[in-house]
Subunit: 405 residues, 2 copies
């Protein structure tokens, strides 16, 4: 009898796989530039009004367990936000507060995936989508975001695949990330409409991870799945982490506004699972409710943070595209850059080796593209101040020159 | 193709299954006495020094993601606590911070359970032990705590069962709860030694849920598994919720001090899983580290809380044992009472119907014993002030009289 489960081989997250190496280097006195974790709260203080609400919750004694579904104040705040921002009519029954989007992914796959069943995930993907599916016996079917077309969904390819699969695959859901991590793409309304149409035609549950929905640059226009997917089962994932700059709170939510039987069945299973872990961080939920309800303070906070994010992302993208060794599609949102590395010019063969040696030789930690299903790329989190980003990219260039053919 | 996974039927928690009924009654203006959730922070304010540390973490900007394994300060604080209190020599590598003990149970079963494999759980059990096993395809083997012997482990029964099973069952772990929820039993050193001996003999991983380890009354003596299980793989589960009166923080930990290969393999899988959900509540971890490190403040806080808990539990136990309809073994720790209901005197046949009708007729919410694998009992959380406990027990008696044969 083996000690471990066979499923346990699927767990992990490439974003953090070099953390222990980085720790050891730091202990040797090296100063590591960490561009691996997408964490705005490292560089932008969580807004004061949110911190104050959190402190008030602590002072008011809101440190006990709360409703496993989430506090009513937060679930109502979610409903209000979606009505205000996207014109969605729904109610708090359709919202379950989760321990971050990651727990929502856990609950989703727990609820719907049987051994051997499938889900459609687009490459490059947020690295925890496949393992949360695979630990429950699911098998990802990879479709693609097309780098040649600004990392948009290849909807023609998707349509062909769905026709080809027919009933040969048991596809439980189709998951899109908008705005995208790691590419920064913001999907257009027309592409989303095509996806909704295909999901409808093939009776696929649509999952939309919209955790960066307010982090959109310039003239790019974000469309929420809730504006297009009417009268069909779909789920939106979102949370405090990115828009509200509060990653460490571990407060997210899953919302499934449909009144159909499928939506109700799945939400019921989210509720059952939620009972098992009692509740999410309770004082953090009060802070998150205040964060969403105080519209004017939030607007102020996100305006200045987003302006600075855009400056940093554009600055780093420009430097990357001036490099002889990298090329990146300019992101329209979020704070990631996903450059293709010109491995044909290098003696290093894989992105895994690239990031590992870059860390050891240049004290810069980025994430390998293969961890996102995007071999030959690296992901650079572009939240640090310009001078740090510049130093990091200089070092990446120096590293590439040293290892050039 | 079914909408739901077959595993999803296992999720749930009987402690909370009546919450929506209670909500509806409350909305009708009823004042429900809720004795279902074991939540000290509802009745005892989380100590001021912990709240202050939490607020300081927020003010210091510790709102970002932290290490997926937990902040070093907290993992060191855990190591220090176990050295100080139990003389254990271990190190922070052996500790993974979890989102409560519930997440540690999730990680455990994720890591070791394959379809059809078994774990030994004693009845009556904390209700989420079986579902976290079952959602990963595991099958519980139930052994028993013996009510006639003050709910102690029936070690003779356990020994007979283990011999009988031989290799016919694939038993991955044996899980004990000490002090116990729902019975309040504190296991003696000699019984624990027998369990350790049997686990050693049959090569079973020992899991000890010790989340109430400081909540022990009078002359009862608690022994931690780490004092007895030397040179073998074992895991201890604990956290902020009960001893530190901070249930809503969602900060717990799993510790596996063994240097053996099995311990290392399992801890590695905890680490891999931990990466996937990024981290536990970060400011809460700083608060928890301070809570554990400030020994003198903690001693003061727990002394007064525990004294009051003991008064309330003894008071309620006495009232219960004066009832014509209930009998309870007096708890030696924690804050639960698990009386046997004299169903032979009642027209109500099941504990499920009993708690449901009690809630609707008398506005008192308790949990059915069958949810703990203890049919014919109910669990009463005895944290409320005496007058509320008295009212509740009066109402239970009135309810029983009304439904007497």
């Amino acid at each position: 009898m083996s000690v471990l489960s066979s499923r346990s081989r699927y767990a992990g997250n490439p974003i953090e796989e070099e953390d222990r190496v980085a720790d050891r280097l730091a202990m040797q006195g090296k100063k590591i530039i960490k561009l691996n974790r997408g964490d705005p709260a490292v560089y932008f203080r969580t807004p004061e009004y949110i911190i104050n609400a959190y402190k008030q919750a602590l002072e008011a004694g809101n440190t006990h367990y709360v409703d496993h579904l989430g506090i009513p104040e937060l679930r109502e705040a979610v409903v209000d936000r979606y009505r205000r921002v996207y014109g969605l009519k729904t109610n708090a029954e359709k919202v379950v507060v989760t321990q971050g989007v990651s727990e929502a992914l856990l609950m989703l796959n727990f609820a719907v995936i049987n051994e051997g069943e499938n889900a459609i995930i687009f490459k490059p993907y947020f690295p925890i989508y496949p393992p949360y599916l695979e630990i429950f016996g699911g098998k990802p079917i990879f479709e693609r975001y097309d780098e040649a077309n600004e990392w948009n969904v290849d909807t023609d390819g998707l349509e062909r695949s769905l026709k080809r699969y027919g009933k040969s695959k048991r596809i439980k859901y189709l998951l899109v990330t908008n705005p995208n991590n790691p590419t920064g793409t913001v999907l257009s309304k027309s592409i989303l409409e095509e996806i909704v149409g295909l999901a409808n035609e093939h009776k696929l549950l649509l999952i939309s991870d919209e955790v960066y929905d307010e982090l959109v640059f310039g003239h790019a226009k974000f469309t929420s799945m809730c504006q297009l997917a009417k009268g069909m089962p779909y789920m939106i994932l979102n949370g405090a982490s990115k828009n509200f700059d509060a990653t460490g709170f571990r407060v997210g939510f899953a919302m499934m506004p449909g009144e159909d039987k499928t939506s109700n069945m799945i939400m019921n299973k989210f509720r059952d699972f939620a009972q098992m872990r009692l509740c999410a961080n309770s004082p953090g939920q009060y802070a998150m409710a205040a964060a969403m309800n105080n519209v004017s303070e939030h607007k102020k906070a996100i305006k200045s943070m987003l302006a600075e994010m855009e400056i940093r992302v554009k600055f780093a993208t420009k430097l990357i595209n001036e490099s002889r060794y990298m090329h990146a599609v300019e992101p329209k949102g979020a704070f990631y850059i996903f450059p293709k590395v010109s491995f044909e010019k290098l003696r290093i063969r894989s992105d895994r080796k690239f990031v590992d040696e870059l860390l050891r030789e240049e004290d810069v930690q980025v994430t390998r593209g293969s961890g996102f299903g995007g071999d030959g790329h690296i992901r650079i989190v572009s939240l640090a101040p310009k001078e740090i980003l510049e130093t990091a990219i200089d070092r990446i260039n120096r590293f590439c020159s040293r290892h050039a053919k």
